[in-house]
Amino acid sequence: MRFWTSALRYTKTDMLAADNISGGARIVDRRQWARKVHILSAIFLALTAVISLASGPTGTSLWSALIKIVTEEPLSTLELIVLRDIRLPRLILGIMVGAALAVSGVVMQGLFRNPLADPGLVGVGAGAGLGAIFAIVLGGLVPLWIGNLIGNALIPIAAFCGGWLSTIILYRVSTRRGRTSVATMLLAGIALGALAGAVSGILVYMADDQQLRDLTFWGLGSLAGATWSKVMIAGPLIALAIIGSLFLRRGLNGLALGEATASHLGIPVQRLKSGSILIVAAATGAAVAVSGGIGFIGIVVPHLLRLATGPDHETLLVNAALLGATLLLGADIISRMIIAPAELPIGIVTAVLGAPVFLWILLRRRGLVDM
């Protein structure tokens, strides 16, 4: 309860700050409030994680399993398989993918200095997907020694390369002297997406039956195929990207003032930009490789957080990771419940929830900003 009352008080103070100017009132720091949101989001994430572990079509009960663990009674084989091999990796993969999508959204929006830049919308996801399809269909052509070296990681690495290339192309096309044209960015994203789609189509033609099954499954955009090996493959890439993004937090703040001013403030702008592109590619690539195309997390989460706690990247990145993970787990739970025992692809759930928010952002911006 106290959290909520203080939350309300803080937002109110922010909004009323204009009326508050003569009072010499104590300066309320949005950063302090955002740090409280860290805790709040972490609690939410933990709760959602428990619900996610507890829910599923088999009727296996998390509680009875927990009681058994506490009383040191052995678990049944079914409980062991369902909880340890199905729900737990799915939970962890969901947390990783949700955090990766939200963080790559924040970093990309900071890089492009624009709240509409989302890897899924502007073709980076499609590029990463193309990389993954390349790996699935043409993976057999990779020399054996390389195959042995990277093993299962071929698909995520290919997705990373695809995402990296498309981010670079997108940035080159839509940014002139540090200013991004929203229109060019969105149109270039459409072009990139169309190109990736066309090439993917050709590759699908060339695929054999087994590969087609892999592709269909992957293309649905779902956490249903979660395994421990996927967690082990995507985990390091996503962890690196999220930790790396924390090193960019001050730079991304400065970049909001434009490239020239950022460099006057002592920020190494070139390094900041290439670092951001690598992080977006790694996070998006890894997420796409293990879960297909899940949209809108990268745009909705940062936007809501900017409204609630401000655009300061010092706190935005961590909050986005936590809230992104929570939101994706929530969407996953819905996707499992709504037509149980069958499952809806999670991409459909995030689109139904996210697309209206995206339209709302567009409406709010309309007329304020020249595209």
Partner: protein, 260 residues
């Protein structure tokens, strides 16, 4: 001391500056004047290394290429002619960005002090994008002041490089900012400001340089530089320089054909 020798700048193959010599001393306010498009901003952007330039530039007797980017951030703050802001930051958050380079010992109240200095005390929690043009300009100036808050550190002067800092301010705030700049120089720092108001310049400048057609056509003390001839040549119109009795400060009167 900031020293720029034979600075030549070409943009897109077109020569903009033709071997400009310019210098500014710490402890002084140095003003750059000149007509629109004469190259004032370009000169400032050469000194801040934003455009490709030929020649020699030294800051505090050290070649500009020998500085790392954070070292430059530690000795000079830059106010561009126009600045943009993405995302809804509050005023205080923007001002605190001046502290990003992290070279300050006590930063707690610096941003608030800087805001008060430019007459924006109480604006801390307003959204930057909702301020008026002049208020935004002063908030940016507060950010730059924050960056080089102490005019001298370990005996080394720091610099304010300002492109038209008072362009959209009312007269009261123009004087407030001028006072701020003079105060910074009086305490040992250096100020280079591009200005359009010749009378304001005459009032506060310790040294002035006229840029015209990509060249420095005159530089030195105000009374030496602001002659009828140099001003009229630079601005392509009739200007007459006079002095007011009390403190002998110069003032410039335009002479239109109809008034003559």
């Amino acid at each position: 001391m900031i020293k720029a020798q034979s600075i030549a700048v070409k943009i897109g193959g077109k020569p903009i500056l033709h071997g400009v010599n310019f210098q500014a001393k710490a402890g002084e306010v140095t003003v750059v004047v000149g007509p629109n498009g004469s190259g004032k901003t370009t000169l400032l952007r050469a000194i801040t290394d934003e455009v490709a330039w030929n020649g020699h530039i030294q800051i505090n007797d050290r070649d500009i290429h020998d500085y790392k980017s954070w070292e430059l951030a530690a000795v000079r703050g830059v106010l561009p002619q126009t600045a943009t802001l993405a995302f809804p930051f509050t005023v205080i958050e923007v001002v605190r960005m001046g502290l990003l380079s992290g070279i300050h010992s006590t930063t707690d109240t610096l941003a608030e002090q800087a805001l008060a200095r430019v007459g924006l005390a109480g604006y801390a929690l307003r959204f930057f994008q909702e301020l008026s043009g002049g208020e935004q300009q002063r908030a940016h100036l507060a950010r730059v002041l924050c960056q080089v808050w102490e005019p001298v550190v370990d005996g080394v002067p720091r610099w304010l490089l300002l492109d038209e800092p008072v362009a959209s301010l009312d007269i009261g705030h123009q004087l407030l900012i001028m006072d701020c700049l003079q105060n910074f120089a009086a305490r040992g720092g250096g100020v280079i400001a591009v200005m359009h108001d010749l009378n304001l310049t005459a009032m506060i400048a310790d040294a002035v340089t006229i840029i015209s057609g990509g060249q420095a056509i005159a530089s030195g003390a105000v009374e030496d530089v602001f002659t009828d001839q140099s001003l009229s040549t630079a601005y392509h119109c009739q200007l007459r320089s006079n002095t007011l009795p009390p403190k002998h400060s110069a003032f410039i009167l335009p002479q239109t054909a109809s008034l003559a």
